[in-house]
Amino acid sequence: MAIFVLKDTTVTVNSIDLTTYVTNVELVQAVDSVESTAMSATSTNGHQFVGGIQNNMVTISFNQDFATSKVHATLTALVGVQTTVVVKPTSSAVGATNPNFTITNCLMNEYRPITGAVGDLATVGSISFAGGLYTAPIV
């Protein structure tokens, strides 16, 4: 796969395919920086860090839908509950060029069911799933 434009990125939250409601998604693979700087008369390189535990984040924006078993019902039931989020660049089959990025045991601690001004499309405020374990196929 060459460079491409995001058009059909798939997003699954808690085994629910919310792709058709997603307007923006950002996945951050991160680890904590743990300082390991030690006393040294000869050290001139400044602070030293080692990689700590994972500190991942998935941030997603949705168009809102309050109908039965749609966006609102799915997300409001997940506040404060550990879950799994899967993001795939395109709707094509999973593979080396289309990895399914998976964050397991992540937590959404805040949900904003209504965001917007008069005349705006009803949307869900940008929500974040924090923590958890990041996995993706090795490319």
Binding site: D17, T68, T74
Partner: protein, 51 residues
Amino acid sequence: MASYKVTSELVAGKSPGDTITDEELSGSSIEALIAAGHIESNKTTKKAEAE
């Protein structure tokens, strides 16, 4: 292994009426899925068991 009946059209890889197992839902909150109306418990009646 517990199984559930799919009741919404948004469950990934499933259609309403399908059965899904807790193994397939590994990593997901089953309580949240039930609360949101995506799945419901597959109840086995005593009559069905007798048959």
